[in-house]
């Protein structure tokens, strides 16, 4: 069959995609798809594009190229295609894609799976539907206009019906329609989009049958546990493995090479104990006697570093955004207010630690792992082994949480290197201690804010300075200031209507691995900016909601100077931010709730990942300083909602995730090493500490779908501390809160 004609990749993938994804889309050329290892879906009788196949028995196979880490994407994105295809969801089967650039971008990160693939999946489904209708019309000798697709069949006005399976072979011979000729469904015609279909994996999850990375196995595999330098960049001095080798089940002790900076996703190196079970490997590792040379980061002390960052933000730094003249306004004198804020390092701590299984044989490696980014696995492993990425076959399991950690495949390269060294399949299982001590930490950050206010307490000038070690330092040692993508997360795009505004950022050197964690730089920026807004409102003795709306000013689209397609598609529209503030206030009963001693509401609203989120948090602080969060109201405008229940669940989860950052989580370092090691000292919320009830209020929207996984987190932090101020008069400027209320 002529596959080229049925894949209209340019029209299919055009438009919304970034340049990178567009180029990758060209790889959807079916000949290339055939040259690569075929998934079941690709072997299907008809393949109008890589994402979709229809078997002659009517089974629809959809290749899902994104990773499932709890957002529901593996279930939700295919429903978009199935909806436009007018397929019966019960007859749809999913195929998890291996890492391959032919699928386009697979990095499940940045809350972008729906945002970037909604249109493509719709158009794929609609294309197939058009061709099935055309095939039926031809078969019956009637005009296509008299036929329509309906629940896995094509139906003629006369009442004749024919199933998709029977049409597959004929449809495959047709030319795909142009994008311009596609008739997409109207929202009223949606059968899955906007509903709450259960996830496809829930049955496996509640019975323990779901295969996560840690459940992957290969015949003949051995287990490895790796001792790494406690100091970032440290080198192995000596190792005594005599006692380790004496442990029953231990087979061998091998050294992994130390690599050179920039470290990026490279494995850290170290000493691996190889054994016949996970337990024996861990036990053997405990018997190793290893000496390290800490190197340049051996003196890293996070308490001292905090002071350094605070000193940096007390001095003028480079402007990332400059409107009007802040200095001239300050020089006028009058009432000013200033404050400093601090957020510590954080660890991702997904419940499933990093784990990978690799089998290197004849110059090729097969991998099974929980990864957010199987193509980064290909790149990283290929570089580590000195092979081409086409020789790295990465199968993606379910992920036991990701939060950004599992888009960094250092652990996968460890397994691949060991397999090559040992000549057999190797499983590397990180202990929880490894996970906490060798993470890519969320950046520690210090911020300074200063405002001059008029007689109503409204700022006439607003200065903000930040300093934090950049994620960019992992990839370029020269990157010692905040990168554009970091500053664009809630710092250089302040949505408030203030005539004089400057956002600055100062240098900070990274002494540990720095990485993105759920909502990234928005975490500290939102805390600083929205705490400060609340301070100004308090100073003016104004209602917080009324003050926030005043700060937003007239409804407008803010020009952030970005001209890329994505920014054009998702402008920062203050009217939408206003609406979620009003909705959260309404649903929480803000107007009728007066703060009482120890019990109050707090609010914050933040735009991130192109979504508009307002959080109203109710706190209770007892006489002993114990904090409880009885309820949270999150109002969210995320554009069109695909799966209402999964969107709600993401915001419920973000409520707990944000509360944990505000209340208890903190990573510290001393003598270059991370102090925390497990859940007794790296604290994350438990059921009795989590917000008791999070109500999610979704704005009904026809705007393009925006991010969902991350944007719920940032407003939670300041909403909590603002509520604490309202309840107790205590202003929290450093996180975590911990014992500051005692």
């Amino acid at each position: 069959m002529n596959r080229i004609e049925v894949v209209t990749r340019r029209t299919f993938l055009g438009g919304v995609f970034s340049a990178g994804a567009f180029v990758l889309a060209a790889k959807l050329m079916p000949e290339e798809a055939l040259a690569a290892p075929l998934t079941k879906a690709e072997k299907a009788a008809w393949n109008p594009n890589v994402y979709l196949g229809i078997e002659t028995d009517g089974t629809v196979l959809i290749v899902i190229h994104r990773s499932e880490m709890g957002t529901g994407i593996r279930s939700v994105l295919p429903t978009v295609l199935a909806d436009e295809l007018e397929a019966d969801w019960k007859r749809v089967k999913l195929e998890q894609a291996i890492g391959d650039k032919k699928y386009g971008d697979q990095n499940t990160d940045g809350s972008c799976s729906i945002r970037d693939f909604y249109d493509a999946f719709r158009e794929a489904g609609a294309t197939a539907r058009h061709m099935l209708v055309a095939a039926a019309a031809a078969k019956w000798g009637v005009p296509a206009s008299e036929c329509k697709a309906q629940n896995h069949q094509v139906v003629h006005t006369s009442g004749k019906k024919i199933g998709y399976g029977e049409l597959a072979a004929a449809a495959a011979k047709l030319t795909a329609p142009n994008k311009a000729d596609l008739k997409l469904k109207t929202p009223a015609e949606f059968r899955y989009i906007g509903k709450s279909l259960p996830t496809v994996d829930i049955g496996d999850i509640v019975t323990g049958k779901g295969t996560f990375g840690i459940d992957a196995k290969m015949p003949g595999m051995v287990h490895a546990s790796i001792e790494r330098s406690p100091v970032y960049g440290g080198k192995l001095k000596s190792v005594d493995d005599k006692e380790a080798l004496a442990v029953k089940g231990v087979q061998k002790v091998v050294t992994l090479p130390h690599l050179t900076p920039p470290y990026g996703f490279k494995p850290l190196g170290g000493v691996a104990v190889i054994a016949n079970s996970t337990w024996a490997a861990k036990k053997g590792r405990e018997k190793l006697k290893v000496q390290w040379d800490g190197g340049e980061n051996a003196g890293y002390d996070s308490a001292k570093y905090k002071q350094q960052l605070l000193e940096t933000v007390r001095k003028p730094q480079k402007a990332a955004r400059n409107i009007g003249d802040v200095d001239a306004e300050f020089a006028k004198g009058g009432k000013t207010h200033e404050a400093e804020y601090y957020v510590p390092h954080l660890s991702h701590a997904p419940m499933e630690t990093p784990v990978a299984v690799a089998d290197f044989k004849d110059g090729k490696v097969v991998i099974h792992t929980a990864t957010q980014n199987p193509q980064a696995v290909q790149d990283t492993v290929a570089a580590a082994l000195g092979i081409s990425k086409e020789n790295v076959e990465c199968h993606v399991t379910l992920l036991g949480g990701g939060f950004g950690r599992k888009s960094k495949p250092d652990y996968v390269a460890e397994a691949a290197l060991l397999s090559k060294q040992l000549g057999k399949p190797v499983k590397v299982t990180w202990t929880r201690e490894d996970d906490i001590k060798f993470d890519y930490y969320h950046a520690v950050a210090a911020m300074y804010l200063k405002a001059r206010v008029d007689d109503k307490g409204r700022p006439t000038a607003w200065l903000q300075r930040s300093a934090f070690p950049s994620i960019g330092a992992m990839f370029s040692p020269m990157a010692n200031t905040g990168q554009g993508f970091e500053l664009g997360m809630g710092w250089s795009n302040l949505p408030f209507d203030i005539p004089n505004h400057r956002a600055e950022n100062g240098p900070a050197k990274a002494h540990v691995r720095i990485g993105w964690l759920r909502s990234v730089a928005n975490i500290y920026h939102a805390f600083g900016v929205h705490s400060f807004a609340d301070e100004l409102a308090a100073l003016a003795n104004r209602d917080r909601v009324e003050y926030l709306l005043d700060l937003l000013g007239k409804d407008r689209r803010i020009d952030l100077g970005q001209r890329d397609a994505r920014s054009q598609k998702f402008p920062l529209d203050t009217a939408r931010l206003r609406r979620v503030i009003e909705l959260a206030a309404e649903k929480s009963g803000w107007a009728n709730r007066k703060a009482t001693k120890g019990r109050a509401l707090g609010i914050a609203a933040h735009w991130s990942f192109y979504s508009y989120i307002a959080a109203v948090v109710e706190v209770e602080v007892d006489n002993a300083g114990k904090l409880r969060i009885p309820q949270v109201h999150i109002a969210a405008d995320v554009g069109r909602v695909i799966n209402t229940d999964r969107v709600r669940s993401q915001f419920e989860g973000a409520s707990t995730f944000g509360a944990g950052i505000a209340m208890m989580s903190e990573i510290t370092a001393k003598d270059g090493a991370i102090v925390q090691s497990n859940f007794h000292d790296y604290l994350i919320p438990r059921i009795q500490e989590s917000p008791v009830m999070t109500h999610v209020h979704l704005v009904d929207s026809n705007e393009p779908p925006a991010g969902v996984g991350e944007p719920g987190v940032p407003p939670m932090l300041p909403a909590i501390t603002n509520a604490i101020f309202a309840a107790t008069g205590k202003r929290i400027r450093e996180l975590p809160i911990r014992k500051q209320l005692a």
Binding site: G70, V206, T207, H680, Q688
Partner: protein, 165 residues
């Protein structure tokens, strides 16, 4: 040589007596529904039942199991028909799902001793089970759904597919 039962099947073990049950289940008899989360009894992901009580399998040494009866998530009901599993599905509790088998085993144990648990009972029983995705409010809801459904359905029928409980 230690003999014991796992999900109704008689088992023998003569390996490292200090090996935690968790790794025996996962590495030796391939019951991988029980998850590793911390190895220190801090997170509850590895929760199973020993003689009907919820324990952390990462803290349960093999030598302690002589004559005991172990039930894992696979033994609760292979088809997901246990009322607690049904409740979990009804409220779509899981996100990533990794901790959920441990949460379910803990909840089953709770409902055995407290068929109608209060919020305080739930907090107290479930506080050892961490969910990083933050599904706690659904877990709470699911436990209440299960408590109500269990009173409606005869216990014996509901647990027919289960192992030894």
């Amino acid at each position: 040589m230690i003999t014991f039962k796992v999900n109704g099947v008689a088992r023998k073990f003569d390996g490292d007596p200090e090996m935690p049950l968790l790794w025996y289940l996962r590495d030796e008899i391939e019951l991988t529904g029980t998850k590793y989360g911390c190895g220190e009894g801090l997170c509850g992901a590895c929760t199973v039942h020993v003689n009907g009580s919820a324990v952390r399998s990462c803290q349960t040494q093999m030598q302690s199991l002589a004559g005991k009866v172990v039930t894992t998530i696979e033994g609760l009901s292979a088809t997901g028909t246990h009322p607690v599993q049904q409740a979990w599905k009804q409220v779509n509790a899981p996100q990533c799902g990794y901790c959920q088998t441990g949460q379910i085993m803990q909840a089953v144990a709770l409902l055995k001793t407290k068929p109608k648990p209060t919020d305080a009972d739930i907090d107290s029983a479930m506080k050892g089970n961490i969910c990083r995705c933050g599904t706690y409010q659904r877990i709470r809801e699911a436990i209440k759904v299960a408590a109500n459904s269990k009173s409606a359905a005869p216990k014996a029928a509901a647990q027919k597919a289960g192992g030894d409980e």
